[in-house]
């Protein structure tokens, strides 16, 4: 795990160093591991697809975070490319980028299976997954610590619902923007 020095370094000359030290947050990083922060800061699948044949979006009414997703499928019905535009917290942004990665090569059925495994991981922790399921979840395993942050799980689930929608809605269709 990689923490910037700002987190691990000693507290500056505050008059209340003792209490400050006690409340320092070195383990706060477990959720914000490097892969999550990298994908949140520099998403690899940001943007729209001009030739999308699927479009979906979602909004979290509690925080106003929004995810828009565009998909293009090949003749075999499997997703060939996926892009997203996300305005949200680091967890939501990283999840959107990782989920856009993960949907490539899948159809709706395979994505539903991935979503079910991801749900199990959030509910019961990464340990609850079999080796095979861990492999299938891939980089999304980086969000496994969400298990310990129940109030933040919805941040990672928002991109899933947007992709699920994109798998059944064509661009410009009515209902395409419901969230």
């Amino acid at each position: 795990m990689c923490w910037p020095t700002a987190w691990t370094g000693s507290v500056a000359s505050s008059p209340d160093t003792v209490l400050s030290e006690a409340n320092a947050v070195p383990d706060g990083a477990s959720l914000y591991r490097e892969l999550v922060m990298t994908r949140a800061r520099r998403p690899e699948r940001a943007g729209a697809l001009d030739d999308a044949d699927g479009e979906g979006s979602g909004t979290n009414p509690l925080c106003g975070d929004t995810v828009q997703v565009w998909l293009r499928r090949g003749p075999d019905g499997l997703v060939q490319d996926a892009r997203h535009r996300t305005r949200g917290c680091a967890i939501c942004a990283a999840a959107a980028d990782l989920v856009a990665d993960a949907v490539v090569g899948k159809d709706a059925g395979a994505f539903a299976l991935l979503e079910r495994r991801f749900g199990t991981m959030l509910q019961d922790g990464p340990e609850a997954l079999s080796m095979g399921d861990r492999g299938a979840i891939g980089f999304l395993l980086a969000l496994g610590d969400l298990h310990e942050y129940p109030s933040r799980r919805k941040c990672a689930l928002l991109p899933f619902s947007a992709v699920r929608q994109a798998l059944v809605h064509r661009p410009g269709e009515p209902d395409g923007g419901a969230g």
């Binding site: 409340n23 320092a24 947050v25 925080c63 680091a90």
Partner: protein, 417 residues
């Protein structure tokens, strides 16, 4: 000497360590860290005096109120009704019969929207502001859709203050029947010029409801000096329990208003043809009330009175001033709302960091702040924000805790930079 040390020496509420000992929860650790609780505006922690009063009632002195002729019921009725007197004194209401117990502020506002609202005529208007909590927006929208009244919204300025000129202009046609406005914003900390609002509204023939959910916690409130017609607050923010709130209204208004809910306790006589209503305030308290919670609220009022709301106000003003100074010193951190008159509620945003991420990282350090839209979505939209983080102070917070917050925010900033 550091600022913090200077502030510590002259603490307006005296021995803060002793005061903190009244709140057992402050001993708890969160994620292995001492709890730094900076979310009192959402709900305040409870002193042992409140906890004991409620448990004591359940252990030794409890029965239903207003009905039994037996000893336990009479004593419990005395305790319950005694709280009405405490509320009367707390807000300097003219009489105890004007104090109605509700479940919370939300129910109190819904009561007014339903009962006073039924007296408004189509074509009349209700005037609210841009900085209302959803509790002071949605009931009026529902009334609008039910009764064909108009809902007007007074804007706030960039600093987060009520735009009084625009407010007065919205009153000018004389069609506003009720102004419903917050006495203190739960997002910006702004304390509104309530007496001035009331004067302008009365001049235009409108009644005024003040949402005191935040204000009553942070400063002495005198409904007669303010000239208000309705004042509402909620017990759980005043160091009391959940499930108990207060509506105060002028007697002539309560007399003219039809009941809100029907049932036991609120009637004079009942036959299948018709019923008559009980005397004030019972006309508005249908069913068995929140007896234990009312007793808890009474203990909470005793508690804040024993400290003194003026001293609490001074203490929180010091914390707020110190916090603003510290937060202003953090690069990329922006305090939202710069009202000249404000209480101990501070919303802020951080460059490159989402409020939820900030709150999660602070939480890992044992620091509880709120993040989100704070039940004030229209205000967020007005400010062009989707969410903020919010630190709010209670009587038990210390300058040291403010420093912990600021130091931690500085680290969080480094993390997201």
């Amino acid at each position: 000497m550091s600022d913090a040390a200077v502030l510590r020496r002259g603490n307006p509420i005296g021995d803060i360590t002793a005061l903190r000992a009244d709140f057992p929860i402050l001993e708890e650790r969160v994620h292995g860290k001492p709890l730094v609780f900076l979310d009192s505006a959402a709900s305040a922690q409870k002193p042992v005096q409140v906890i004991d009063a409620m448990a004591g009632a359940m252990r030794a002195q409890y029965a239903n109120v207003h009905r039994g002729l037996h000893w336990m019921s009479e004593r419990t009725t005395e305790a319950y009704e005694g709280v009405r007197d405490k509320v009367r004194v707390l807000i300097n209401a003219p009489s105890r019969e004007e104090v109605v117990f509700t479940r919370n502020s939300t129910e109190a506002i819904n009561l007014v929207a339903h009962s006073f609202g039924s007296l408004l005529k189509p074509g009349q208007a209700v005037l609210i502001s841009e900085m209302e909590h959803h509790a002071n927006i949605v009931p009026w929208q529902m009334l609008r859709d039910r009764a064909g009244i108009e809902l007007r919204v007074a804007p706030v300025t960039e600093a987060g203050e009520l735009d009084l000129e625009a407010f007065a202009a919205l009153l000018a046609d004389g069609r506003v029947g009720l102004v419903a406005i917050t006495h203190m914003s739960n997002v910006l900390g702004t304390v509104t010029p309530a007496a001035r609002i009331v004067a302008l509204a009365h001049e235009a023939g409108a009644r005024v409801l003040l949402d005191g959910s935040q204000a009553v916690v942070h400063r002495p409130v005198d409904v007669q000096a303010l000239g208000a017609d309705f004042y509402v607050f909620t017990g759980h923010k005043l160091y009391g329990p959940t499930g108990i709130g207060v509506l105060w209204a002028r007697r002539e208004l309560l007399d003219a208003m039809p009941p809100f809910m029907g049932g036991g306790d609120m009637i004079g006589t009942v036959s299948f043809e018709r019923s008559t209503w009980a005397e004030l305030p019972h006309k508005f308290e249908a069913g068995t009330p929140a007896i234990i919670e009312a007793i808890g609220l009474g203990a909470a009022i005793d508690y804040v009175q024993s400290i003194g709301l003026d001293r609490m106000q001074a203490h929180e003003a010091e914390l707020t001033e110190h916090a603003l100074r510290r937060l202003d010193g953090i690069d990329g951190l922006r305090v939202v709302g710069r009202a000249a008159e404000r209480g101990g509620v501070i919303s802020f945003t951080m460059e490159n960091a989402h409020a939820h991420d900030v709150a999660t990282l602070l939480d890992r350090g044992g620091i509880a702040v709120r993040a989100g839209n704070h039940c004030a979505e229209p205000l967020m939209r007005r400010l062009g924000l989707s969410s903020t983080a919010r630190a709010s102070f209670g009587v038990y917070n210390t300058v040291e805790e403010v420093d912990v917050l600021a130091d931690s925010l500085d680290r969080v900033r480094g993390f997201f930079a």
